[in-house]
Symmetry: C2
Subunit: 303 residues, 2 copies
């Protein structure tokens, strides 16, 4: 009998949805030793791994599963992560900040505060070029929104080129060619060995000085001192960061006070129980039927 | 021989584009008495009307043509306005401000300034309901963007119901039913007798208190004291206004200092010469062929 352990701070919300779905044969347990299936937060599951003696399948509620793909951990089970649910919220976040920049919202607020009728053009997304560093399901969603706004879309990936909304793909050693002339660069990369400090001083120097950089992937992708330097020297117009090498961002970190740097707090796209429960239910039916699950993580590759 | 007079502050930009299109038979003039065609700003054309003795066709570079439909002016020519070109920029403006609100951008900036790592959910456009007061070509574009973001779209019009992206249309006396339960209300109405103060205290009271109101139409649509009162009393979450009863907004007007009111300066969508010249060239070819022009204004209706 499949037995599920839920390990999240929102366990009640998940339990309610899963119970009401009346999944055939599924029992819930609070005993790690009894459960062959675990649904939850990667960090909480990592802590429980030594006690999960019957484990066959973990459904993570996040996209990022670093605590579980960590090479010091056991990998003798199927790990699936959350995919296909963050594209919409991420796209809202990215375009919210790009429009905030182009529409000069802060300048307009300041004009209002000083009671100045301030004409002067706003910028447009239309006609601009956006580069997506990483094009999985989130990147494909951002690409679709960019096309809706009349933009040109470039994608940089290891090898995939499956999104029809990406006008031009770049791979491998073409990274600097990829960023040349971009108006916006959006990083959506997962944390892996291969993505460490991919946004470094060379890449930042290759971006036009009017460019906006957005990181909604993982903090390891950014050489943080190089980004501070680029912003301080005006070699980059704006950076919008939702993720950092170390989270919460430490006290005294230069990011807190770097000009033209807008920071959010790993809040660009959260896991909504209604989305993730739906995804679990879909995967459970595949599990029960002995079919391949969706969104299986490759422990080697790390995503 | 068709003879064109250009009456705008950007005349050189228009002239360059029109000359390079090498339109058959078209001559340019700076003499109002010689011109049968005028391209330009409604106010400048209004001033020239008494001298335009051969006038047959005016192509306005704006959507709003109040100075020309004014009943005290002559109406013995064909007036076409600019349409189909503002939808994209207007949509960018509207969703820029809706996302600015939902993503709590100002709160995040304040958290950063006080060096607080502030988790806490952002709002989503997805699943929300937007109401469009007026659904012409701009409204249809906003509706398409709303559908892209996974929203429900209501439209209020006199009688038209042609946009497939509007889920439900309302007309006539159903105005209060139309606004009931809206998350966002966007006014895109032209200035006419029939649109005066359509957004009044009754309509504002029928909106949920968490609603955001955006006006990118004309200022006459809003009962300004009623809007100030609704914001001061917290009966409306936010207002975003690009247009006003009197522009520039007079010194001392309460809007300058009303809480949760974001003001821009009739800058939400400007006329780009490349867009308008294209539209003129298309209409000129119809004019030359003796065919009906596009975007003809009904002097009676006012738009």
């Amino acid at each position: 009998m499949p037995t599920l352990l839920i390990l999240t701070r929102d366990a009640d919300k998940y339990e309610r949805r899963i119970v009401s779905a009346q999944l055939p044969g599924l029992e819930l347990t609070s005993d790690p030793a009894q459960s062959d299936i675990v649904l939850g937060e990667p960090k909480l599951i990592q802590d429980a791994l030594p006690r999960l003696s019957s484990l066959k399948w973990v459904q993570a509620i996040y996209a990022g599963v670093e605590p579980l793909v960590d090479p010091t951990q056991r990998h003798d089970y199927i790990l699936t992560n959350a995919r296909g649910v963050f594209g919409g919220p991420m796209s809202e976040y990215v375009f919210g900040y790009l429009l905030f920049h182009e529409k000069r919202v802060l300048e307009r607020i300041q004009a209002q505060q000083s009671m100045q009728w301030q004409r002067g053009e706003s910028g447009l997304l239309r006609g601009k070029t956006i580069g997506l560093l990483g094009v999985g399901s989130i990147g494909a969603h951002i690409a679709a929104t960019a096309k809706h706004f009349g933009m040109t879309v470039r994608g940089f990936t290891r090898e995939s080129d499956s999104s029809a909304d990406v006008d031009q793909y770049f791979h491998g050693t073409d990274l600097l060619k990829f960023v040349e002339g971009l108006d916006y660069l959006v990083c959506i990369l997962p944390r892996t060995e291969g993505t460490n400090q991919i946004v470094d001083s060379k890449l930042l120097a290759a971006l036009p000085p009017h460019a906006v950089f957005v990181n909604v992937g993982r903090g390891n992708a950014v050489d943080e001192p190089a980004l501070v330097k680029a912003l301080n020297e005006g070699k980059l117009a704006v950076a919008v960061l939702d993720v950092f090498e170390k989270e919460p961002l430490p006290e005294g970190h230069p990011f807190w006070t770097t000009p033209n740097l807008y920071m959010t707090f790993h809040t660009s796209a959260i896991s909504y129980p209604e989305d993730i429960a739906k995804l679990f239910i879909e995967n459970y039916q595949l599990y029960l039927a002995g079919k391949p699950l969706k969104y299986v993580v490759d422990f080697e590759r790390g995503y």
